[in-house]
Symmetry: C2
Subunit: 445 residues, 2 copies
């Protein structure tokens, strides 16, 4: 159907009633995808054809550039209509991406009460639970009857994730319990809500980190989680669809940081060449400049190299193996910490584990390396020096690789920064020092 | 409360009625976590104290080693009880982790009808949608009235994710529509279900890849997704909690593969030293052996090194910068493909983007490198050779970095394999060849 819509909207003659019929049957996410490939004019045309009852839904799913194109052509009254139809959290997401001039015009056309809610949500810090919560949910007061819950569900156009649970608050708006729709269906309509509710509520605070929230969604299999302020007043809920987004974004962010890229939050193909360059070049420069250290070390051993030039040939092998061995450890620990499987207090456990893994991996590598050098270079001393250096390098790389990420967490830095590129640079420097010093001692140069 | 339970169960005297009361109020996930730190004996003791109505729930959440301890001490009748209470998908997850002897005994005690369902689910391939679906959901026939949906919800203990949507099937069990609980609440009880249902259903096939399914959950914000067989018959649903798990696992798997680790699916601290070693050493050996190539190249240029030993000092810098530049590109493309943002057909777009990013990054790096060599070595020719080699290395590394992952997808390999370690090895070899050849030509050696 996507292709059909695309063909019709780009044709010379648009059969509007046929189009409306097709659109009415489509999933709003699929409709939003059609906008991706349309020209500005066609975006506006298609949005105007959308049946009224799905226009706001589609608007929530198109990307921010297209939202801007659409909103700029709407009249003040139309803006007001779309903004009233949007779920509050989608409205906030949209406004956050708009330039100041658009924001001013949009907010001016939102009903006062809604504007206040939006302004409040816009104030939460970027990574906080408050910034992704919605204020639309079903709540009941402790004095209410079960029947009331169904009235609210029938009356309000609430998101599907919110329908499963009713939140019960006391006279001070404090969260005191939850009741599932299943409990409500099983109860008598005139029963007190307090008889049905579950008082062991797991909740988040508006200022909690949204990454922690995503982990809890996964742990408890929630569809929605209540959010309270510092006075334990219920102020919103976060729904599982947003938790899925957070989880995906956080994984992407960690992957990018681990590869020495500043995270961008934009899909690759939609990111400009300049932004891509900016996100990468700083780290490349830092890494290149720290590599100056390796140059200084090698220059210090120039005499050894002149006496025994074959030593040079093993530099890349040592560096690469050290880098890979170290980043294996670092990446496992970083991911383990991101998933809350490894904590700061596990540092000694982790260290002890990695030392043993390093000893075993190192042994296998040394055996193969020794054999290879003996076959290819037929030089026992060279085989000995490179093998000893290799073993020491693996032990050192894995130690650094596991300790640095936990160390970063201890000083409240993002552990993901301590991945391959940083570990590689450190491993390079240390492995070269080990290698050349071993060569000097054993080869007597 | 977790600590309280822990203290009581490890005490000399266990107040069972007090304990039951505490457990009744706790979240089952939290109860399951208490089992983590208990001895075998205490695990069994605590499980026997659990109130009947939550025992199966808790069983689903404890990890497989503890499930094994528990199941081995249960009588045949008790096993039958637990297995009847478990949701089918949890039962399958549990059985998949058990040794053959346990499986035989468990299946022997499951009611025949349920055993058949479990056996069927166990047959689906490991990464397929079928392997994570459940057969417990609310379905109605096209001939049913709205009221019937509420009867089913009241009668069956279905998972919370399944309550939001009813699936409507025709007389051949083919999926023809869905109806949300909100639609059902708004409709009249004696209305035909066909009047209320939505016929534009998005579904998965049992044999689809579960990674694609997770992406669709995120895209469409589903709570559950119907699964059909090749004849379009409704055979199960996948719920959002399982999609969250899949999404997290797939991200972890990609991260591990990108760091040259064989994925293990076990939390780091629960993985043995031997398994950790096995998962890493193969890749380390492969990478070390391919580094033999770099050794051969360097040996081929030994004469140049003897004439101009300062060349050696820049090898690590060139190799590291090339490796980092290449893995930046590779990692972005691999993640983009995992999230379906980059497709095979985008290969030329990606290539053109990366070439420009490489040209810009390379220019910045060369400027800094040239300045640095002029200041530190005061040698114009050396500055020129290293800078040209650096520029060529960055362009080459980013080209290889973006093309290899897409190439891997084209030949149906996992793109994640083409990350840092592989790219680094290739970049090393090529950058050394470029570097020494440039040196020979420009320095006339």
């Amino acid at each position: 159907m996507k292709n059909e819509v695309f063909t019709i909207i780009n044709g010379d003659f648009i059969d509007i009633s046929k189009m409306k019929k097709i659109l009415q049957d489509m999933n709003t996410v699929d409709i939003a995808e059609v906008f991706d490939d349309l020209s500005k004019e066609k975006i506006i045309q298609l949005f105007r054809i959308l049946p009224k009852n799905i226009a706001a839904d589609v608007f929530a799913y198109v990307d921010s550039e297209q939202q801007k194109v659409i909103i700029e052509t709407l009249t003040d009254i139309e803006i007001g209509e779309v903004m009233s139809e949007l779920f509050v959290d989608d409205a906030v997401d949209f406004i956050e991406e708009m330039p100041a001039s658009v924001v001013t015009r949009v907010l001016a056309n939102v009903p006062a009460e809604r504007r206040e809610v939006i302004n409040q949500l816009l104030k939460y810090p970027k990574n906080s639970v408050g910034s992704i919560m919605t204020t639309e949910f079903i709540y009941l007061k402790v004095s209410h009857k079960v029947a009331r819950a169904f009235e609210v569900i029938r009356k309000r156009g609430i998101k599907k994730e919110t329908i499963y649970t009713c939140y019960i608050i006391d006279e001070n708006r404090k969260l005191v319990g939850t009741a599932s729709i299943r409990d409500l269906l099983l109860a008598e309509q005139d029963q007190d809500i307090t008889e049905v509710m579950d008082t062991n509520v797991i909740f988040a605070n508006t200022m909690d980190d949204k990454e922690t929230l995503a982990i809890n969604f996964n742990k408890y299999d929630f569809l929605a989680m209540p959010v309270v302020d510092n006075e334990h007043r219920l102020v919103g809920i976060v729904t599982v669809d947003d938790a899925l987004d957070v989880q995906e974004q956080e994984a992407t962010e960690d992957i990018e940081i681990m590869a020495a890229i500043t995270p961008s939050h934009e899909p690759y193909l939609k990111t400009s060449v300049l932004t891509l360059t900016k996100n990468r070049v700083v780290w490349l420069l830092v890494l290149m400049l720290t590599a100056t250290l390796t140059a200084i070390i090698i220059e210090g051993f120039e005499d050894a190299i002149m006496v025994f030039p074959a030593l040079v040939a093993f530099i890349p092998m040592l560096m690469d193996t050290g880098g890979s061995a170290g980043s294996q450890s670092a990446v496992l620990i970083i991911r383990g910490m991101a998933l809350n499987e490894v904590r700061k207090r596990d540092i000694l456990l982790v260290f002890w584990k990695e030392i043993r893994v390093a000893a075993l991996c190192g042994a296998a590598l040394v055996a193969v390396n020794f054999g290879r050098v003996m076959i290819m270079n037929q030089d026992f001393v060279l085989a000995l020096v490179t093998s000893l250096a290799l073993y020491a390098t693996v032990i050192m790389a894995k130690t650094v690789g596991c300790l640095l990420p936990i160390g970063a967490r201890l000083i409240k830095m993002d552990p993901a920064v301590m991945a391959s590129p940083v570990i590689t640079t450190i491993a390079d420097v240390l492995s070269l020092i080990i290698y050349f010093n071993l060569a000097r001692i054993i080869m007597n140069i």
